[in-house]
């Protein structure tokens, strides 16, 4: 029996003291999720790798100012998200900021339109490679502001509170964005699966 399942929290004091072993442990434990998040945010492996490296370099520099109001991991996410958004802004300067209560006028667009019951889809189809590819593409269709919330909550499984802390948003705002993201994805998936539904009873 090992205790490997309950990882030790990271010691900010050790990191501040320049403990490289502790830093390596932090990088080892967090680089996977951070890379994955960055990759899905910017949809480009090279940019994602830059973001990954920048995140830790910035974290090292900013560590003395770390106030411990969130966990170290959440704080790293925050840096990575900001880096990702910066990359996106560079690529498409026409857009967004995380703070604005975006596109209120858009709200109507989230009314469910696709009403197809695809719950009976065979699991093999739901989890096929082709479906996976579509799922990833669908996430890319979300606006960055919705995408980041969805990725943190539903892909990386952070709590609402952690997501809110990492993004500097209220929990209410996180929940609202999460729902919008999920509803938009549901629309996309419904359209996708509607074409693949078995049709035992065509109208004669």
């Amino acid at each position: 029996m090992t205790e490997a399942t309950a990882p030790q929290p990271f010691s900010v004091a050790a990191l501040l003291a320049g403990d490289r072993t502790e830093f390596a442990r932090l990088v080892d434990a967090t680089s996977g999720p951070i890379y994955r998040l960055a990759l899905r945010m910017v949809d480009n492996p090279q940019d994602a790798e830059d973001i990954l490296q920048e995140t830790y370099l910035k974290a090292l520099k900013a560590l003395p100012g770390f106030e411990g109001r969130s966990s170290l991991t959440t704080w790293l996410y925050r840096i990575a998200v900001n880096e990702s958004l910066m990359h996106l802004r560079k690529r498409r300067p026409d857009v967004f900021s995380l703070d604005t209560s975006e596109n209120e006028s858009d709200e109507e667009a989230d009314e469910p339109v696709q009403v197809v019951d695809w719950c009976c889809m065979p699991e093999a189809e739901l989890l096929s490679t082709e479906t996976r590819t579509f799922l990833d593409a669908a996430v890319q269709q979300l606006s960055p502001n919705l995408r980041v919330v969805f990725l943190m909550r539903d892909i990386e499984k952070l709590s609402i509170q952690e997501t809110a802390e990492a993004l500097g948003l209220s929990e209410v705002a996180v929940k609202a964005r999460l729902l919008r993201a999920r509803l938009q994805l549901r629309e996309q998936l419904s359209a996708y699966f509607a074409e693949r539904l078995p049709r035992p009873s065509e109208v004669a």
Partner: protein, 132 residues
């Protein structure tokens, strides 16, 4: 179709999917779903959408070469561990030594054969040395 009531429920759907809706609202929503096929489908497919995305697809780690370059950039090369602990043997075999029980037949005790090879006198298992 009670469009108005359907809209009222829209805001609660996130909490419902996450199982965090208050029991009272939950009962109300489920009551409504029993009567409104449209909402039943929307809610069911919304739940399933979230479930599908919850099914892990990615490797937990960044690709090995990305990890390598990251560790190098951070001057942590000497701490680089294999990317996926699951892919390395759970209990790495310790180096064998003379006198150890033979890992093959578990009968004989390993001994050097004179050419730096550890050999089992019982089954002939050989390990290490100059010629293996």
């Amino acid at each position: 179709m009670e469009t108005h009531r359907c809209c009222d429920f829209l805001d609660s759907l996130g909490d419902y999917v996450d199982g965090e809706l208050s029991p009272a609202l939950c009962a109300e929503l489920e009551q409504h779903m029993a009567e409104c096929e449209r909402c039943r489908i929307v809610v069911d497919t919304l739940k399933l959408t979230v479930e599908i995305y919850h099914t892990p697809a990615d490797a937990a780690e960044a690709p090995p070469e990305v990890r390598q370059r990251l560790f190098a950039r951070l001057n942590l090369q000497d701490y680089l561990q294999p990317a996926d602990p699951a892919s390395t043997p759970a209990a790495p075999a310790l180096a064998l030594r003379a006198g150890d029980p033979c890992p093959h037949c578990h009968q004989g005790a390993l001994d050097y054969d004179g050419q730096l090879t550890l050999k089992c006198p019982v089954c002939g298992f050989a390990e290490g040395g100059c010629f293996t």
